[in-house]
Each structure stands twice: as structure tokens, then as C-alpha cells.
Assembly symmetry: D3
Homo-oligomer: 62 residues x 6
């Protein structure tokens, strides 16, 4: 605890995801006082066909 | 904002998903006064093996 | 099934929420072929202090 | 209702998932008084590359 | 890990919630082989005005 | 997009939450290349009575 879920479009590299998890954990520890080993991060990739803004999916905008 | 997540069994066509996102967005705009470009919709497909009602997964009912 | 979660800023009236649930259910039934009595909608209100865009919470923008 | 979501690392067998759904539903019915046919369970598998504890993804620990 | 979220109508007693968490954890440990101290359970209470089936909120059915 | 949800025990100060949102957004922008104004953060407070580890709620551990 805390538990962080990051939901984003698929396509980031493994390196980006590795850095993302590390930096987000740093941010949570620094600002909430939580102990590092307790911070959990879930990554959720979305396809363009599963994500819409303003009534149109990104897959329908291409 | 608002953010709408639709979780449903996999199997709908791309056309159905396109129409779903559009109509759900219409419904949100019409009833909440939110501006259309701010409405976000996430679609989440479920496998029959990931979804159970009454203690039995749909994949175990076939 | 399907299961729809609508996450939005608190402040909508009870009438708006009643209409929102009805119209979203109409949209889901119309486009996915799901039977009406199976469609579930969850409403989740957010406080301005729990919601941030671009690094700033709406409560810190006032 | 109630709605139970179980998020866990991928890798459990189909038999384990079948038993998991059954036993979790038993537990919910026994303790909340909910009727069995109303209890819904969603299973969500996570990849090691999508799950981090203490700033490091399990996929980066191997 | 695993992480279990139970979303249900508000109104269960503290005793029921205590037993629910215990029995759900038992079920997860028994069927997935997860170690007990790693199993996390989140409880989420819903108001009748936040939950609809078939287009009508439970609060509008009373 | 990306969308970050931080679920944690209630009790952090408003200042901590303000800093948390800011630093988490910094981390996401820095590592994913997302543009700052697109990053959304949701904060979700949990009561001790809604959160259990190893079969026991924190409220039952006091």
C-alpha cells in the first residue's frame, strides 16, 4: 500500500515501463511517506480500439 | 471527464464497439451536461474463462 | 453483463443520475444486443480533491 | 451483486481458476447472505511485466 | 498478490465484513497456493443510488 | 492519457496529496513521453475497515 494503477495506450517499450514503475514509486514514497517495499504498481495497456475520447475510438480516427 | 468503463464478454464486432462508444457518449453528454470532447470511454473484453456467475465460469457451463 | 462504470465529478443531481443510468443502458442494449435486465451500471462520484489533470487537482485550481 | 474481482499473476491452471471462483463464491454467500446466483466473479491475469512491488517489476527481478 | 476487490451494497455489519475478508482469503489461499500474508482484499460499499440493473437504480425502485 | 489511480489508506494531508499528484505526473511525463496536460490522476482513499492483508482488516488489527 499504496496501490498505483497506470492505464495507458499500448506501445511503450519495456525500458520505458521499467523506468515508469521506478519513478512513480519514487514519487509515491517521497510524498506519502509509504515505505518503498510496500508500494505496488499495476500497468494496464489499452489498444486503440478499446479507448475513445469524444465518442470516437482512437482506432477509428486513423 | 466523465470516464466510462464498459466491461463485457469478448465477441462483439468492431462495428458494434464503434456504435457502443458513440451512443454511450451521447447518453452521457445528454444527461450530465458534460462536453463531448471530455467524455472518455474504456472498453474491456472478458473471456468466458474469466467471468463467473453463481460460482461457475461461463467457460465451465458450455 | 455488460457492466458499465461511470466515474465523474460529484455534483450531478439525482434526476441527472437517474436519466444517465437509463440512457446509458439504452445505448448498451441498442448497440451490443445485451438484454436490458442484464445491464449493470455503477456510478462513482469523485471529489475535486481526488481528481487531477496535468499535475494539478481541480481543488487546487480554484 | 456482490461483484468480486480477483487480480493475480498469470499461470494458474484452469482447474485452479474453476475452484477459485467456486470457493470465493461460497465465502461471499456464507458471510454476506447474498444469494448464490447473484454473486459475480471477474478474474484478471497479470503478466510479470505489468506488476511491480517496491519499484521493480517481477519481470525485472528474474 | 492476489488482490481481491469485493464491491457490494452498503449495509453489511462489521462482523459480516470481518468474516467475509477472512473466508475469501481462505478460499484464495486454498485454491491458488498463494501465501496467506500476501493476499490483499479491498471492500467497496455501494449506495443504492450508485447501482443500477436493467436501467433503474435500486434507489429508484423503492 | 495515461490515467493513474492511486489507492491508499485515508489520512494523508491535503498538502501530501497535492505533492503526490504533481510528482506522479512528473514521473509519467518523464518516462512515457506523454504530454503533461493529458495525464490524469485519480486518488482513492481507503478506510482501515475496507482493507485487509493476510485475511485481517487493518481495523481489526488495532
Amino acid at each position: 500500500m499504496p496501490y498505483v494503477t497506470v492505464k495507458m495506450l499500448e506501445g511503450r517499450t519495456d525500458e520505458q515501463k521499467k523506468a515508469l514503475v521506478e519513478k512513480v514509486t519514487d514519487a509515491v514514497v517521497e510524498t506519502t511517506g509509504a515505505s518503498r517495499e510496500k508500494v505496488v504498481v499495476f500497468l494496464e495497456d489499452m489498444k486503440k480500439s478499446e479507448y475513445a475520447v469524444g465518442g470516437t475510438r482512437l482506432s477509428d480516427q486513423d
